[in-house]
Amino acid sequence: MIENLELLIDVCLLTFLLLIVFAAIKTTNLFVATMLFGIFSFVTALLFLDLDAVDVAFTEAAVGAGFTTVLMLSALRLTGAFENVKHRHSVLGLFIVVLTGAALIYGVADFPNMGDANAPVHLHIAPEYIQLTQEKIDIPNVVTAVLASFRGYDTFGETVVIFSAGAAVLLLLGMGHAEPKHEPEQNLVLWVVVKPFIALILIFGLYVQFHGDFGAGGGFQAGVIFASGFILYSLVFGESYARQVVPASILPRFAALGVIIYGLTGLVSLLSDKTFLDYNALSSNPVSGQHLGILLVEAGVGLAVFSTVLLIFYSFSGVNHNE
């Protein structure tokens, strides 16, 4: 019964997604398409939650539904192009799509049933991860353990991806600067409500940052949440004030610092002749070494993500980027 219920929720959410994408294809209004995409991300997050992927759901909600939507809206504001009336029907495109779909359907035919506990995925490596996490790392959240320790090199790569995205956006748009005349209109309700909430958001960001070992969360989500506090501030009180609090010019350095913190944490273990990112070298006790390593690495990730996200927001919301 329970399994069918889970499946039912799944299928419902997936059907929602289909409808949303269908509407997004049909609409001629880019603003509507963007909002639909935001909803799409949010429903995806719910789906992840239903599939037991709490960390992923959290990330998707913060990054996909939150940050991406804000970015798309800022881009729309800059381009000013809201209408997109042209439809074009491409036979070749349809052919490619159908071909891809056919290949996928062909491929999944051999897949083990969804949720089958005896599928190869669940028999190899994954059980060892759960066991090793309990023995060697001793934190409850296996995802964090795998992310930061077992596959820490991937996560280093991921941090660099974020950093390179920041560098790319900076190369393309520059940091921009706030338009002095463009103060948002004074709105007492927003001011009163938003002020304490910014504090709440920042505290929540810190909680997510440091609670990642025990529950869903970690550097990525925390970085985005922390940045969203500043983004909210900038939207409500005006960007020039936000830029006074956190100047844009310092952000690329912060992001670089995040990457360097991560890299150096990895390099420290080379000194005691362990391999890169082997946190056992950080302390005499391997378990506390792992704890310390994960903490440092997550801090690096959090810093890099926070500064890059805020930097990208500044780049998109500022003016006069091409001088």
């Binding site: 290949a103 996928l104 490596i125 060892e128 991921e158 350095r253 390099l267 056992n280």
Partner: protein, 490 residues
């Protein structure tokens, strides 16, 4: 020195971050140069280590292989490292003046950051032993590449970059789908572990689909002919330094991904016996050679001409792999190496032309053989090597390819190589004719060509001749790599 495998990736990544932290143009260049020097040193010393051991394995985080991520350097990876770091070193010497000229001051620091990240990404792909890690590093290099391409002076650079972003992302996502399909059937991501577990489930739709998706994904990144649309614009409009570095390395790394997945992961038996992938490769390769060469003949922008020529060269490599013989594989790897030298030379020479005239149109090059003798002489060497004149690197790989074709008694294709060489002669000949036998245009540019650019160019050009006359190194590594590949598969 046991940590070289990881330092070769981490050094450029940390250097990229350090550059941003210091935020100074000259220092940025210096760090880039030193980092690529270090990487070159590291790759050469790892090549030396590989003379004694089969494979250098490095487990990250202290977790043993299928649990942690493993770096795995065999002769094939070492060959790629040599190409990547060698080109990076020369390009960073060349970059000093070229970047000063072509990139606005405020972007120069970030330019070097992005360049180092492309390098690190490509190195990371070449040495990783983990399938998913390939995707991560692919994206590191791609994202920075998009930014670098968009820095071209022409507004079309922006659109070219966007096109590449779209196709590149689709390609990367296809690779991700393929990796997922393999993962679901085996439960592992480690390439070594996968290759051991795949045979048990090889005869399933899922694995065949995985194969198709990875091939198409890597094919997009490699600009395999029907999937090549992004490449000509991207190479034509990007800054000289970028087009040189990309032409010498980027598509080759995609071909490397293809070889790595298809030969060492799926195995020769699966790729060539269970599904007729060799035949497909031969067909795609042939189309690529002919299509690329014919397109190239009709171009009036020399950069674009060379871009199409690159597509044709990818065709040669794919054709050679498709022969599914030892000789064929050797020819493919040799051509990967030699083509890097050739395109490095040609694009660098063009970059110098661009430096003086801010254009790479054929018409602008009238008579510059007399005014820029050193540059055009190097261009000619590269061109001859591209055609495959004896005594140049291009000859060696084409010779091996033709021999391999004859061994497989595919003489019509061997004839086709000759036809393609004639086509190459035509398009290279057009440039050389214009440069040497047309009167010089009036309004000659007074800019002096900087020495650093010429030095880098000539090292590239001379290496064409060196590896044409003495192919011990390239041949040795290629043969070793092929033996390992076949050994792994059997």
């Amino acid at each position: 020195m046991t940590h070289l495998p990881v330092l070769i990736v981490v050094a450029p990544l940390l250097a990229a971050a350090l550059i941003v932290l210091l935020n100074n143009r000259k220092v940025a260049w210096l760090i880039t140069l030193l980092t690529s020097l270090f990487c070159f040193y590291a790759s050469v010393s790892m090549l030396e280590i590989l003379q004694e051991v089969d494979v250098i394995s490095y487990t990250l985080g202290g977790w043993k292989a299928p649990f942690g991520i493993e770096l795995r350097i065999d002769a094939l990876s070492a060959l790629m490292l040599l190409i990547l770091t060698g080109s990076a070193l020369l390009v960073s010497i060349y970059a000093l003046k070229s970047v000063e000229k072509e990139i606005p001051d405020k972007n120069q620091v970030l330019f070097y950051t992005a360049l180092l990240m492309v390098l690190a990404g490509l190195i990371g792909i070449s040495i990783t032993g983990d399938a998913f890690n390939v995707f991560v590093f692919l994206e590191i290099s791609s994202l920075s590449t998009y930014a670098l391409i968009s820095l071209g002076r022409d507004r079309r650079a922006l659109h070219a970059s966007y096109q590449y972003l779209m196709m590149g992302t689709i390609g990367a996502t296809f690779i991700l789908i393929g990796i997922g399909f393999m993962y679901v059937m085996t439960g592992t991501l480690n390439i070594q572990d996968l290759s051991q577990r795949l045979p048990a489930v090889a005869d399933t739709n899922a694995i065949r689909a995985a194969f198709a998706f990875i091939t198409i994904g890597a094919g997009i990144k490699a600009a395999m002919l029907p999937l090549h649309q992004w490449l000509p614009n991207a190479y034509t409009y990007s800054p000289s330094v970028v087009s040189t570095f990309l032409a010498a390395t980027a598509t080759k790394v995609a071909v490397y991904v293809m070889i790595r997945f298809e030969l060492s992961l799926f195995g020769i038996e699966f790729s060539f016996l269970q599904i007729p992938f060799d035949k497909i490769l031969v067909i795609l390769g042939t189309i690529g050679i002919l299509g690329g060469s014919i397109y190239a003949v009709y171009q009036n922008n020399v950069k674009r001409m060379l871009a199409y020529s690159s597509i044709a060269q990818i065709g040669y490599i794919l054709l050679a792999i498709g022969l599914a013989s030892q000789a064929g594989f050797t020819a493919a790897l040799l051509h990967i190496f030699n083509h890097a030298l050739i395109k490095g030379t040609l694009f660098m020479a063009l970059g110098i032309v661009f430096f003086r005239f801010a254009s790479a149109e054929l018409s602008i090059m009238a008579g510059i053989g007399k005014t820029m003798p050193l540059t055009m002489a190097a261009f000619t060497i590269g061109g001859l090597s591209l055609i495959g004149i004896p005594g140049t690197a291009g000859f060696v790989s084409k010779w091996y390819l033709v021999t391999a074709l004859l061994d497989a008694s595919l003489w019509p294709l061997a004839l086709l190589i000759l036809v393609a060489s004639v086509l190459t002669l035509i398009y290279v000949g057009r440039v050389i004719e214009v440069a040497y036998f047309r009167p010089t245009l009036k309004g000659e540019s007074q800019l002096k060509v900087p020495k650093t650019m010429l030095i880098a160019l000539w090292i590239f050009a001379l290496s064409n001749i060196y590896f044409g006359l003495n192919s011990d190194i390239s041949m040795g590594v290629s043969t070793l790599a092929v033996n390992q590949l076949i050994g792994v598969a059997s």
